[in-house]
Point group: C2
Chain length 386, copies 2
């Protein structure tokens, strides 16, 4: 299948190989190359104070505003690996640069998988070398090679007027992804500066990945990298670029939510009537992280009392006697007390929409997307070291 | 069994009945009476902005510094029940006062159970009336009547020099209990002022229930109430009182941790090497609430990388390249990288001790106790409206 993901825009090639990092033998090394003529780049990284060696190396590379390639591996996060880990990340950078004929300072590195084990560098080196000889229209193969606990490869394409944007991603969220690190690579053949690209990426991430909260845990390796080749010869306005990057990130975030570990319900939590948007976001996130709310969703239980108990602990202004809650459009709680028929609302479907009004009369509003807390989540995360 | 729990000290009586609030027909109403000659009282309540009607009523009662009785019901929290809920809580207060011959402003009310349903007041009234006629040395019956998802009744007795302190409790924690509200009633025959008792209760709660964190959720109804009858004629020094209240609360907290919903592991998380104790507590709590750490514990998986990923998001100063982690006394991570044999540490036992040093060189230290996240936790909290 051509025309998918990161190789859909002009000026990009990709390749993937089975390097043997994953015990399963599945593809685990990928390279995405920007063939120019331009090399604008932008990125957003994890906020975790404990960040992985490849994040350190990529931060330095992106600081220059230009990237010619990104090299990825799955199966090992190269996180909490000390000085050896940093040396290994730099060696990945050097090997990929050598393989694709790039300047090493213009190559970023992304790793995902188990934390705390040294990379098997002999396998990694062979894998990078092999991938570099197979570059082509292989965006789909690259998207597959970055998967860990993902069950489907995640790619999107957004068309502009005479230009194209592609992206691939894996994992579950940015501010608070599952253990499966979130990695996203966005490519475009638009002619844009790294500053314009950075602005578009930051705005899109804030509104998409940063409001996806699967389990409140934030990875050591989260990375969103964007590269622009300029190969289309079209220079879109900032607003067009912003819209396309936002659309791609929104689609990837939705794919990640649907593929979250153990998910049986997609839960959208909107908080309105807050003093401001930031307080609405804080309240929505507090509800979305509450294990009692999440287990009730798993049980299709319209247990609005748990929503009130959760939001009452949020660091947000509220009128505690005037909170309203609706599930799937049915009001279940008015003035902080139960509404008629509240216990009978049907939450058996795969999508649950929760809307909470804090009753302050303010215009603050925000939405967080999360999932339920299921037996499968516990199983996936207790049965495997990952 | 005499001499247990709240009726162990002189000057206290108790009773419990089956009022029919619980569908199971188990005991669900209790009264604990301070027969004097003194009536000093103290209390600590939930920090949740959404608090239940009985919390409002009890706060007012305790503000006077004296209590003659506490009336309890389980099976219904009388939370998020609006004006009717407050009227019902005041009616419980009035009925109990009438039944035991007390001034209503000297009676506190505690409720636990489902949120959002109106109390069945006819049953509650009959239950309070019946209990009031059966007062005696029935501390054990009272402890049983306040249970919800608890599997064992929780009582303790601490002996002073010529005086005694008893207590009963239910639930799982104070700052962050499971959905099962934490209720604790402490009684003593010591001669102490309400101010001295309040000081002892606040100090004990901060160090015991407030560092027990089962699932990060905080109930609308959490209450710790203490009453002193002075019936022993002994006036202990503040330090003696503090020590006895602390010992009772510590024992109850340990009972709650062992009986937490779905628990298969008791996990103690100590953070050292922090800039100060408050930052150590924040870091320990962040680790203790992380679902990936908690599922790893359920799987007996010495996955120290998840501990590092969790603590990296804590709002605490740390040297991210100099963090040390030990599981059950074995160092599994040094200088933020894996130690030899880290993957082989045996965590198959019921108790797991985690010690994390943040590497700042500071003397800050704190311990939080939590539990694992198990299939049973998901089952208990998804299968029942509670």
């Amino acid at each position: 299948m051509s025309e998918t993901g990161v190789t859909a825009p002009q000026g990009f090639s990709a390749a993937a190989t089975r390097a043997g990092i994953k015990p399963s033998g599945k593809p685990d090394v990928a390279i995405v190359v920007n063939e120019g003529p331009e090399y604008a780049a932008a990125a957003v990284f994890t906020r975790n104070k404990v960040f992985a060696a490849p994040v350190k190396v990529s931060r330095e590379a992106v600081a220059g505003g230009a990237l010619q390639a990104v090299v990825f591996n799955s199966g090992n996060a190269n996180a909490c690996t000390g000085a050896q880990g940093e040396a290994d990340a730099r060696e990945m950078q050097r090997l990929a640069a050598q393989g694709v004929g790039a300047d090493p300072v213009r190559v970023a590195v992304c790793s995902t998988g188990i934390i705390g084990d040294a990379l098997p560098m002999e396998k990694v080196a062979a894998g990078i070398g092999a991938a570099a000889t197979q570059l082509g229209d292989h965006g789909a193969a690259a998207a597959e090679a970055i998967m860990t606990t993902d069950t489907v490869a995640k790619q999107v394409v957004v068309r502009g007027s005479g230009w194209t944007l592609g992206a691939m991603g894996k994992g579950a969220g940015m501010m608070a992804p599952s253990l499966a690190t979130m990695l996203v690579c966005v490519t475009t053949d638009a002619q844009v500066s790294s500053a314009a690209l950075q602005r578009a990426v930051e705005a899109a991430v804030a509104d998409t990945f940063n409001t996806l909260d699967i389990d409140g845990s934030t990875s050591t390796n989260d990375t969103v990298i964007a590269m622009a080749s300029g190969a289309s010869g079209v220079a879109p306005a900032q607003e067009e670029l912003d819209a396309a990057v936002h659309e791609a990130c929104a689609q990837l975030a939705a794919l990640m939510q649907s593929d979250a570990e153990g998910v049986t319900k997609r839960v959208s939590i909107t908080v309105a009537g807050a003093a401001d948007d930031a307080q609405a976001l804080e309240a929505a996130r507090t509800i979305g992280r509450d294990n009692l709310v999440k287990t009730a969703m798993f049980g299709s239980d319209p247990n609005w009392g748990r929503v009130l108990a959760a939001v009452g602990m949020a660091d947000a202004e509220m009128d505690a006697e005037n909170i309203t809650v609706a599930f799937n459009g049915h009001t279940v709680c008015e003035r902080s007390a139960g509404a008629p028929g509240a216990r009978d609302v049907d939450l058996s479907g795969a999508d649950i929409d929760v809307v909470v009004d804090l009753g302050t009369g303010g215009a603050g509003r925000a939405t967080v997307r999360t999932t339920d807390l299921s037996h499968a989540y516990v199983e996936i995360n207790s049965a495997y070291t990952s």
